[in-house]
């Protein structure tokens, strides 16, 4: 596999203007499949959640899952789309063993939702409107596992296994109009857009929205054109970009790669690219041209899906609070500053904070832990903060230990490390590591006396009312007790000793 040349992102941006097109596939969490009564469940033994319809046995017929249609309409409404009064399914014909009928039942020229938009807020607060071309219903394909070859690739494989559990799982594919004008913020926008879609479908409750499980999958189309030119360049379509960070990286990489190709005077090849998380680069897939002929025609086994205006309005009335409005509400309720709240959102811990607060922590405590401790650790571990392994209960427990004076903040961070290392619950770790705060005042008072004696001038200042100077004494005590003392208690005792009001 040859490594493609790339230009630096800055140079690419100097020379070219990127245009994006993003397709997001959302797996719906309906009980049954799009066209059959087989269960829609992830992770079971291969080929157990299938019936004759999913296997494409001779004579079978599809029946549309009404809940899937409802979910699709909800998604359309949340994306500010128009909902078609009547729309049809079509057959997309191609031979491939992950598609048991050798055609995929999808929507072609009659999507259920069309002409929408989503306002995307970037990290610095800039709002960018992404126009939605359409959101349409379709069925997922089965899953192929290539055996015997290198790295699970089809090339060189001895044979392939196919699992049809995923075959027929309801999907909604959301397609943007060409996204122009994002400039150097294109990678960031791509990520923020996919994040927003994921947030919306999760908020609607129509999808489990777990990217790592493929509930939300992204294909990113990228093309470049010289600044000032209207006509789009030739695009590549990078498939299966399945984490938010990967979306950003893949778009960035493709911009750099396209720029290098264009700089060399070669045309960009219109093709499918595969994203590789390990090398953070893409490789060429199959050429994708407009010559691909899927011989679409209206699915004759299904009648049109009719969405009466009454039904659409009923569904609209059930929509939950949109995420943007929810953010506004939470910010007010939590009393965070603009900056604090934006940091929380950008760090991707708003939901975690909300859960932590509902588990019993205060807004400030929740923020302190997530932003102060967990986000940094997640960055080091290269995972999303919510995936680090800290539950809201852990934080509530940790905080209670601190508030009860059993451990101090410094110890609490050690306990957190213990939790992440799988050593047990915070209580158990405090026990195991012997981290209890020294609560007998006797040794403390001795240490305080020693510290005051060592720094008489500081003691004098405090007596004179300069309470802020107390830090030096507290520091001396903490040093003497190797951090085992409760700093708050130490402060109280010093003030008592010196007869000064805190």
């Amino acid at each position: 596999m040859s490594v493609d040349a790339t230009l630096s992102f800055e140079e690419a941006m100097e020379k070219y203007d990127p245009v994006l097109g993003i397709e997001v596939h959302v797996e719906l969490n309906t009980k049954t499949k799009m066209f059959s009564s087989a269960p829609n469940v992830f992770g079971d033994e291969p080929n157990t959640n299938v019936n004759e319809v999913d296997l494409g046995m001779p004579g079978v017929l599809p029946v549309v899952n009404k809940t899937a249609v409802e979910s699709s309409i909800k998604i359309g409404l949340a994306l500010n789309c128009k909902i078609a009064e009547s729309c049809r399914f079509a057959r997309k014909n191609y031979f491939y063993p992950d598609t048991p009928k050798n055609f995929q039942t999808s929507q072609y020229d009659e999507p259920i939702a069309y002409d929408g938009y989503l306002d995307i807020e970037l990290e610095d607060g800039t709002v960018f409107r992404v126009e939605i071309e359409r959101a349409h219903m379709e069925e997922d394909a089965g899953k192929l596992t290539h055996m015997g070859g290198a790295a699970g690739r089809i090339q060189g494989a001895d044979y392939s296994l196919v699992d049809y559990n995923r075959s027929g799982v309801p999907l909604v594919e959301i397609v943007t109009k060409p996204i122009e004008g994002a400039g150097s913020r294109a990678p960031e926008l791509a990520k923020a857009y996919v994040a927003a879609v994921r947030e919306i479908v999760k908020n609607l409750g129509v999808s489990d929205a777990k990217m790592e499980r493929g509930n939300v999958r992204c294909d990113a189309n990228v093309s470049l054109r010289p600044h000032g030119r209207e006509r789009f360049g030739i695009r590549s379509e990078t498939k299966n970009v399945n984490s938010l960070r990967a979306v950003e990286h893949a778009v960035r990489y493709e911009i750099q790669r396209h720029a290098a190709v264009l700089d060399s005077g070669e045309p960009v090849i219109q093709e499918t690219r595969h994203w590789h998380e390990d090398t953070r680069s893409t490789t060429s897939g199959r050429p994708k041209s407009d010559a691909d002929d899927y011989r679409y025609f209206p699915e004759p086994d299904l009648v049109p899906v009719v969405a009466s205006r009454e039904w659409v309005e009923e569904l609209r009335a059930t929509l939950p609070e949109p995420p943007a409005e929810r953010r506004k509400r939470l910010k007010e309720a939590w009393g965070y500053s603009d900056l604090e709240f934006r940091d929380v959102v950008n760090a991707g811990v708003m939901d975690s904070i909300e859960e932590t607060i509902s588990a019993g922590a205060s807004a400030d405590v929740a923020r302190k832990w997530w932003m102060g401790e967990i986000v940094g650790r997640a960055k080091v571990a290269d995972v999303d903060p919510s995936e680090l392994g800290v539950t809201p209960q852990v934080i509530v427990e940790l905080n209670k230990l601190v508030e009860d004076g059993k451990i101090n903040n410094k110890m609490a961070t050690q306990v957190l490390d213990g939790v992440l290392a799988g050593e047990g619950t915070p209580e158990e770790i405090v026990e195991k590591r012997g981290l209890a705060v020294v609560s007998d005042d006797g040794p403390l008072l001795e240490a305080i006396d020693a510290a005051l004696a060592a720094q008489p001038d500081v003691a004098e200042k405090i007596r004179g009312g300069k309470v802020q100077a107390i830090g030096a004494i507290v520091g001396g005590v903490m040093k003497a007790t190797r951090g085992q003392a409760d700093a708050g208690r130490v402060r109280e005792l010093i003030l008592q000793k010196l007869g000064v009001e805190g």
Partner: protein, 517 residues
Amino acid sequence: MTELKNELIHHSAADLAAKLAAREVTAVEVTQAHLDRIADVDGQVNAFLHVNTEEALAVAAEVDAARAAGGSAAEELHALAGVPIAVKDLIVTIGQPTTAGSKILEGWHSPYDATVVKKLRAARMPILGKTNLDEFAMGSSTEHSAYGPTRNPWDLDRIPGGSGGGSAAAVAAFEAPLALGTDTGGSIRQPGAVTGTVGVKPTYGAVSRYGAIAMASSLDQIGPVSRTVLDSALLQEVIGGHDPFDSTSLTDPFNDLVAAARVGNVAGMKIGIVKELHGEGYQAGVENRFNESLQLLKDAGAEIVEVSCPNLKYALGAYYLIMPSEVSSNLAKFDGVRFGMRVLPKDGPMTIERVMGATRAAGFGDEVKRRIILGTYALSAGYYDAYYGSAQKVRTLIQRDFDAAFAKADVLISPTAPTTAFKLGEKLDDPLAMYLNDVATIPANLAGIPGLSLPGGLADEDGLPVGIQLLAPARQDARLYRVGAVLESILEEKWGGPMLAQAPVLGSATTTAGGSN
């Protein structure tokens, strides 16, 4: 005993049902009589691809036991319980192979029952076996079956029509009182016409298609095959009704069909002759019998009017675009990956594409391949609008033509097929001539309306059966049964009995064939 059996096979389903209810005969006797007949004559007719002896007799025995037990067990029996039936081998059945007349499904057993089969089982109708057909129901003669042609009981050198030649011949040869067929462009009605039996294509959606191996989804319809109009009505009421597994199935109950077959008069009804569906291109003997039926209906008090459906001249062309388009997609699943035949390429790399290709090359016959290629072409980018798109427009025009015609007439009438049964092999190398057999039946499929074919007498020039087709507006299947039953009774009065009584006697292989009863 032999005499009793022979007598039993000549009864209509309605008569058998009455005799069973009166406990004059047992279901096992009735079923065994038909199994014996199959053993006797099917070597010549080749109507059956599979005979389901054990299960059929077991079901019959259950019916007899229930009837013998009396009380609720007997009362709950369906009117047709114990009346045996044959099933076209395009319809999937648990416990018997389903081949669709193709090598590609040889030996395949369905893991599920078609909805109509479930209904037959619920009614406890013993299933005698699976009947022969043109491969995947593509043909008008059963000569495209991978398992050899079925022969017409009227003349074993002639075709029994198609694609449902097996079901029609089985009923015509008294191997079964009833059969199920499927009709995409005439596959129930045209075999009915050339074998002197009754065949009905119900309104599209009146009978669930779930479990009928799809040929052209928007045209396919399962329907009854029988020797009398009443029997078809009885059978359609068994198999019809809404099915949640078929989104295109209608919610109408269609439970007035048997009553309609018993109304007994056509006085005051308007019967429309479709100008475009007779005359030029129709055999003289066919035309004569058609005119005779018109006169008889007129004499019975019906008003005969002439209607025109000018767009019917495009019907065959539209059909041969829509049908193969759907075929090309519906038959894509037969690839050797999950079920049925798998053929490995003889040499070269063993890739999935090459296995699929080798399997389809070996598994499909020429007519199937012809239609797949035609349909693939018609759906191709750049051709879609000109072919599939235009054909769909024609379809709409034909529907409008029929709407206008039914504003003037309660039912329409035409010959079912332009000719009587032709000789085996006569049209095998001329697909277009073969396709023309369905010129009068295809319009009903394009419009989704119901059609019935019943025996209209024998053509003067060859002494072979002529079929009369009745058409009704969508959902008005009852009208077909009403008019059909009346015409049948007038004709039988004229003939002095059922037309099939004039058919040559099929002996067992050891008996001399020939003679007339």
